[in-house]
């Protein structure tokens, strides 16, 4: 079973956002970058599937700058076999990135392409379904349970108030949601081995963006902070404010 996992390097979720002087990008000073948390589930699932199958290869792939090598090494340390860096700047919307990934995936033999459901920087939730469409592959997004056997796949995905069961034959695309598995940590041995695993670099040229950034800004701070009172006796005052000031009741 050959699996490709697409991963992204993103700012850590605990960052406090500061806007750069251009008014369009994140001020990256002092920011810690990590493997996109949802992509950890994708890597874990790939490793588990390879282990169950007892054969095959897990390739991790990213479109990004040289700095993204560190992210690839993290996944190699978790247990992936090899990595591919597509050197380029991810697009503002998902499509430009998806086009480059699809092109690179098309050239390789694989049974399954795994993604995280969403990158926690742009929160686009676009790339997996786009890659699937571009490659003409079936796809399940926001997947919380996955079963693969005999070249067939069944995925359970979250929808509002229910689940959807998606079935298809491999090859196909799956995007992982939290809950799919518990990602493993890299062992010390894994970290040592990762240094020797192959990391291929590919120049992919310009990545097209169909959207352009006009402005990045912080949302208005909520003023907040009105304590209407203490204990249950404050309830009538609260309700009066909810009705008359906030008009939400």
């Amino acid at each position: 079973m050959n699996i490709i996992v697409c991963v992204k390097r993103v700012p850590d979720s605990e960052i406090r956002v500061a806007i750069a002087d251009d008014g369009k990008t994140l001020d990256s000073q002092g920011i810690k970058y990590v493997l996109n948390p949802y992509d950890e589930f994708a890597v874990e699932e790939a490793l588990k599937l390879r282990e169950t199958a007892g054969e095959g290869d897990v390739t991790v792939m990213t479109l990004g700058s040289d700095d993204a090598k560190e992210t690839l090494r993290t996944t190699l340390a978790m247990g992936a076999d090899q990595a591919v860096l597509l050197k380029g700047e991810p697009s503002v919307d998902g499509l430009g990135t998806a086009e480059k990934l699809a092109e690179a995936i098309r050239d390789r033999e694989c049974d399954l392409v795994l993604f995280g459901k969403q990158a926690i920087d742009d929160d686009n939730l676009q790339v997996p379904a786009m890659v699937a469409e571009l490659l003409g592959l079936p796809c399940a997004t926001v997947v919380v349970e996955l079963e693969v056997s005999d070249g067939k796949l069944e995925a359970k995905r979250e929808i509002e108030g229910a689940h959807e069961l998606v079935r298809f034959e491999l090859p196909g695309v799956v995007a992982a949601q939290k809950g799919l598995n518990e990602p493993r940590y890299a062992s010390l041995k894994g970290i040592m081995q990762a240094k020797k695993k192959p990391l291929e670099e590919v120049d992919v040229g310009t990545v097209e963006s169909r959207l352009e950034v006009l402005e990045l800004k912080k949302p208005e701070e909520r003023s907040g902070g009105v304590i209407v009172g203490e204990g249950p006796d404050a309830v009538p005052t609260l309700l009066q404010k909810l009705r008359e000031e906030a008009k939400v009741l």
Binding site: V17, D121, E164, R167, V213, G224, V226, G229, G231, L238
Partner: protein, 328 residues
């Protein structure tokens, strides 16, 4: 046609998110001085839902009905919409950023090679171009993007627009459904969860959300009572601490690694207000906090707070709301 709205249905009934998308689409069409057309994909009989779309601002309603479109069929939906968009050439296509919309919109964008802005809270036109505003970094920043080409695709975050009636003709036009069997690559079946009777947090009009301060799953009846008092469109939410402890399902988690919600009313009970929780609910219109610790960070974002024991305050709150409701 200037704006095309994809009107989502489940089990043959329009979803609230469809009417919200309709409202966003109507506003955009007005700004462009153009027409707003809705598309309904569904099984036979789905045209009955066209009336509600007309009432919410659709000049025309394109109806594609076929057994193969009754439930969500990703490849077929993509095929029908891709073809319609190419034929009709709208300037903008509006989806709901629901579970279905988030799966479908990227496929359609890839199919026709168009730019997509996801989970949009504001869609408009300025200086002859279209723009969208969308939260990024889990809501810690807002990104304003411009579309370089037409059509501009956008999915609208649930509750970012509230459905407005704005009656138009809603002229029904049936469109032919021709599906290439080669394209169908997956089978999708809905597995209904146990009927909770409460809307999903992402779509709820009000959310009663509980944290570790509730001390155990057995105390959730207090929150259910409050939700009951507030009405059927009220959902139940939870902090991650509660979900990690197994007290509540992950589908209720609000925050960075849960759902991002923007309801008119969010009531946080026994939730401290960690940054990752705030990321998921800070765009609620009105936030109420109940916490026994006056220093809890949740009070810094709450519009109204009560300091005290949730076990005393919540029952009183439910009772008073019920009283209010019965007085009308």
């Amino acid at each position: 046609m200037s704006v095309l709205v994809i009107a989502e249905q489940r089990n043959g009934a329009l979803r609230e998110a469809a009417l919200e998308a309709m409202t966003a689409g109507r506003e955009l069409a007005d700004a462009l001085d153009g027409e707003c057309t809705a598309v309904l994909l569904g099984g036979p009989g789905i045209e009955d839902e066209a009336e509600a779309l007309g009432r919410h601002g659709a000049d025309n309603v394109l109806v594609a009905s076929d057994d193969a479109l009754a439930g969500y069929a990703p490849e077929s939906y993509t095929e029908v919409l891709g073809r319609l968009i190419e034929e009709r050439g709208p300037k903008a296509v509006v989806f709901a950023a629901s579970a279905l919309g988030k799966d479908l919109a990227p496929r359609v964008a890839a199919r026709i090679g168009a730019g997509l802005a996801s989970d949009v809270t504001e869609l408009g036109s300025q200086d002859g171009g279209l723009y969208a505003v969308r939260p990024v970094y889990a809501g810690k920043a807002l990104l304003r993007v411009g579309f370089k080409d037409s059509p501009a695709l956008a999915s609208i975050r649930p509750r970012a627009y509230s459905a407005q009636e704005n009656p138009r003709d809603g002229q029904v036009e049936k469109v032919d459904v021709e599906l290439d069997p080669e394209r169908k690559r997956s089978e999708v079946r809905v597995e209904e969860g146990e009927k909770k009777g409460r809307p999903d947090v992402a779509e709820a009009e009000a959310i009663v959300s509980g944290g570790r301060g509730m001390q155990g799953p057995e105390n959730w009846n207090l929150l259910e009572d409050l939700a009951e008092a507030l009405g059927p469109k009220t959902g139940l939410g939870a902090s991650r601490a509660v979900v990690d402890a197994g007290w509540r399902p992950h589908s209720e988690q609000v925050g960075q690694t849960g759902k991002v919600v923007s309801p008119p009313l969010y009531i946080a009970i026994g939730i401290s207000g960690a940054i990752q929780h705030l990321a998921g609910m800070r765009t609620a219109r009105c936030i109420v906090a109940i916490n026994k610790d006056p220093e809890a960070p949740i009070f810094k974002v709450a519009d109204y707070g009560i300091v005290g024991d949730a076990f005393e305050i919540v029952p009183r709150l439910s009772e008073e709301i019920k009283k209010l409701r019965s007085e009308g």
